[in-house]
């Protein structure tokens, strides 16, 4: 059974985004996503300073089973990426909502809209599962 914390929003493509007090937002992939992929062997992160639209390809997570695109849950500019994933991609498996975060963005509009809350994402996963 996968975990779905209530302190953040989700996409139907299994990314999570958590708004921070300083107005930035942190992005990662969900517990369900990492379970489906299996153990990650490589994570390709965007360059700091890059901007993208909502839904655009912004990262790649690769396991022994599959390589999968990560789509930006919000439009914005990359402020920082999780450098630790370069040597330890498995952090996404062991702690997808914490140490396995992917990158931090400054959202364009300031607001994080049009995303699923934890209950709606849980229903999506249950429906697929």
């Amino acid at each position: 059974m996968s975990k779905v914390p209530g302190d953040r929003k989700y996409t139907k493509d299994h990314e999570w985004v958590r708004s921070e007090a300083d107005g930035t937002a942190v992005v990662g992939i969900t517990d369900h996503a990492q379970q489906q992929l299996g153990e990650l062997v490589f994570v390709e992160l965007p360059e700091t300073g890059r901007s993208f639209g909502s839904g655009e390809n912004c990262a790649v997570v690769e396991s022994v089973k599959a390589a999968s695109d990560v789509y930006a849950p919000v439009a914005g500019t990359v402020m920082a990426v999780n450098e630790a994933l370069g040597s330890e991609p498995g952090l996404v498996n062991t702690d997808p909502y914490g140490a396995g975060w992917l990158f931090r963005v400054q959202p364009d509009s300031g607001a994080v809209a049009g995303l699923l809350d934890a209950a709606a994402y849980q229903r999506l996963v249950d429906g697929a599962g």
Binding site: Q36, E39, V41, F42, V64, K65, A66, A67, S68, P89, G90
Partner: protein, 493 residues
């Protein structure tokens, strides 16, 4: 079974195979002295018998089409007829130098010319180039020609290649390599491409679409004519990925479906040996629109003689993909295979490839396995989903794959296509008998029974192979392919 050491571990200083040593040393006096190496290269020093035993033992570790059923979906691992091999190994072919005069190689050129003509017939296309040396290079050539076509018309706004979500990963990779952006379109519930989504996706930026038909989901794209209409109306071209040509060989032609360019894997459909990365042949075939852009050289016929057509005769060509004409040995084997079969034989290839897949799919369904798209007839391959078994027992598709090895079967493709969870993609090919298919189905049933009674035993497989379960995660994260000589205790080299 014991591990076979690398050949360097058999090495002993000074040991030689004298009967194979060259009688004369090469004269190096005319070479620049500063370019000559000063120490001998690190080659293994073994006797002839050591070498023979080493490579024979390695060959015995193979799990291959010559030793086992190999239903690796999407890879078309069919029997490679020995006749194709022995004819391609005739001394006149083997000893021919690719730079030899055209007048000395008319027989070889005639074979390639006829191969081009036969490939035109099976694809319905107007022009063929044999030069791409693998499927991926054929894809690259195909999309590079689409790009050259738009560029020649001054149409530089077309930046996007459309790819269905069921596609082989090589398709978006190829489009990216050719400088395009990739736009994905989804698959509908019955395995066909979602036409409404396709209509939304096309526009003045559409360079083309890359499709496999039958698709990677093992079903025929039934509305292919509408797909072609939509893409052509938007000004884009259609690329046919020949991965699954075995299902339609001699029965349907990509040109009739509306495709503009095709690549075919001769090492799949036309049964040349493959696996382990090569050598291959990923020929491309095109209609009139793309013909000027074909990679060179191509074999032409002029006044009853066969000649190479190069950049001189074909100035709009995308250029060369290999030093010469591609993998000559692979092309010759495919040529012999096609000549042996003829048109009626090629139709039988498709008939039996599809019959075998449907027979095996029906047998597994009757045994209680879940197949993807159960309402559809399979093409030459089909998908079993082990999602329910994995949920109930913890035994996954990967565990099934490993357990099949112990029962004498190569595993089907696992976890591909990505759309179907816990899947096996099974392609039996036309060269397998009913008894083999029955045995394979029985093995899957036996593994499922064991998954329910003793899941730990399935998860421990394979037990009978030269190496047990490999740590594929560590192999990907921490790849190390070098062998290090162990320091001897005496400190000698």
């Amino acid at each position: 079974m014991n591990r076979e050491p690398v050949v360097f571990e058999h090495s002993r200083p000074g040991r030689r195979a004298p009967s194979h040593a060259p009688a004369h040393c090469a004269d190096t006096a005319s070479l620049p002295q500063e370019l000559l190496r000063r120490s001998p290269p690190l080659l293994p020093e073994v006797s002839e018998l050591d070498a023979v035993r080493h490579f024979t033992r390695l060959s015995q570790l193979n799990f291959s089409i010559d030793t086992h059923f190999y239903p690796l979906g999407s890879c078309t691992m069919k029997y490679n007829p020995r006749a194709a091999n022995s004819l391609a190994m005739l001394p006149g072919f083997l000893a021919r130098h690719p730079l030899g005069a055209v007048g000395h190689g008319q027989g070889f050129l005639e074979c390639l010319f006829e191969l081009q003509e036969m490939l035109k017939a099976v694809t319905g296309m107007q022009g063929v180039s044999l030069t791409p040396m693998a499927g991926a290079q054929g894809e690259f050539a195909g999309v590079a020609m689409i790009r050259a076509y738009h560029a020649a018309r001054g149409d530089h706004a077309r930046r996007v290649i459309i790819v269905p979500d069921a596609a082989h990963g090589t398709n978006p990779a190829t489009a990216t390599m050719c400088g395009y952006d990739v736009r994905e379109v989804p698959t509908g519930p019955c395995g066909d491409i979602d036409l409404d989504a396709l209509r939304q996706a096309v526009g003045p930026d559409t360079a083309g679409i890359m499709l496999t038909n039958p698709s990677t989901l093992g079903v025929f794209e039934r509305r292919i004519a509408e797909v072609a209409g939509i893409v052509h109306a938007a000004g884009g071209l259609l690329y046919y990925d020949g991965a699954n040509m075995n299902a339609i060989l001699g029965r349907a032609r990509p040109a009739t479906m509306g495709f503009d360019v095709v690549h075919l894997n001769l090492h799949k459909t036309f049964s040349t040996p493959h696996g382990g990365g090569g050598p291959g042949a990923g020929i491309v075939a095109v209609n009139q629109r793309l013909d000027p852009f074909l990679p060179v050289p191509i074999v032409g016929e002029r006044d009853g003689r066969y000649v190479w057509l190069t950049e001189r005769e074909r100035p709009q060509s995308i250029g060369r993909l290999s030093a010469f004409m591609g993998n000559a040995g692979v092309l010759l084997r495919a040529y012999v295979y096609m000549r042996m079969l003829g048109a009626p034989g090629m139709r039988r290839v498709a008939d039996y490839a599809v019959l075998n897949a449907n027979y095996l799919m029906t047998k597994l369904r009757q045994a209680g396995f879940d197949v993807a798209y159960p309402e559809r007839r399979a093409s030459h391959e089909f998908i079993v989903s082990l999602k329910a078994i994995a949920r109930d027992t913890g035994v996954t598709a990967m565990d099934f794959a490993k357990a099949l090895l112990d029962r004498g079967y190569h595993a089907p493709t696992t976890y591909f296509p990505l759309l179907v969870p816990e899947c096996l993609l099974i392609e039996p090919t036309e060269t397998e008998s009913c008894e083999v298919l029955d045995g394979f189905a029985a093995a899957l049933v036996a593994i499922r029974d064991q998954a329910r009674s003793d899941p730990a035993a399935v998860k421990a497989a394979p037990l009978t192979t030269p190496v047990r379960r490999l740590d594929d995660v560590r192999a990907a994260r921490d790849l190390d392919l070098t062998w290090q000589r162990r320091k001897s205790p005496a400190g000698a080299s």
